[in-house]
């Protein structure tokens, strides 16, 4: 197990740096290309939510990103000191709706749940907001993403 941590300003220009960090971590964990891409998108969505919702805009605070790299498994932990943001409170988007019935919002959290194997959110006054996401190497024949299955959904 190896751990890499970086702290970046909470602004959109930091997204690419974080993407590079988690991409390398995912490759070091031996994840396959589709899983690496899943991690990239999930981290981008999570950090966008931190900037927009927890901090209420750019430069509201910092984002700490920790990658725990194990063989075949990557855990990404994102910490911020913004307002508590509870992904479980975000309504599930209707992804079968027709064009005119599509509403904005909710797709980011939905993608995080679908793309990652585990998504957990905790918020305490001491630790701030802590989002933990896990992605495992998919073995042949396994279906991708399971965080939206019962028992693995975002914790409040």
């Amino acid at each position: 197990m190896r751990t890499v941590t970086t702290v970046v300003p909470g602004r959109f220009a930091s997204l690419e740096e974080l993407c590079d960090l988690v991409t390398q971590a995912a490759l070091d964990a031996g994840l396959e290309a589709a899983a690496v891409h899943a991690v990239q998108v999930a981290v981008d969505e999570a950090c966008t939510n931190i900037i927009e919702h927890a901090y209420g805009g750019e430069d509201g605070g910092e984002i700490e990103c920790t990658c725990r790299i194990a063989d075949g498994e990557l855990t990404v932990i994102l910490r911020d000191r913004g307002c508590p943001f509870d992904p479980a409170a975000v309504p599930e988007p209707n992804v079968t709706a027709g064009l005119e019935d599509r509403q904005g919002g909710g797709l980011g959290v939905y993608l995080m749940r679908r793309l990652m194997d585990e998504v957990r959110f905790e918020s305490t006054p001491e630790a701030g907001n802590v989002l933990t996401m896990v992605k495992r190497r998919r073995e042949c024949g396994e279906q991708p993403g399971a965080a939206d299955e019962p028992g693995l959904a975002c914790a409040p």
């Binding site: 690419e16 988007p93 064009l99």
Partner: protein, 113 residues
Amino acid sequence: MALEITTEQLKRCDMIKATGRIDGQSAPKLAEAFHALIDAGRFRIVFDMGGVEFLSSAGLHALIDAQKTCKRWNRGEVVLASVPPQVYEVLEMVGFVHLFKIYDNAVQAVGSF
């Protein structure tokens, strides 16, 4: 890689080509490219995604907004071309594969208009 967008006016439609990351930072740039065409009264648009490394929800919102506007009164639509497999997976997850015609390459997409 930072997002690069080019727009090309063709005989029967327009083509927007994107290369790089469509994320929370760069998605407004994509939305601007669509709006520039729409504001000019051009509603038949091919979006060539061959160079897109990934597409976040901010980019998805830009796409759906453009599609809603272009399809109004049957005046046109946005079609997608050369969608990389991993980006297609995201489009499939959010049900966009039913809201956009998707072509293997830009030539086929342009030919659909």
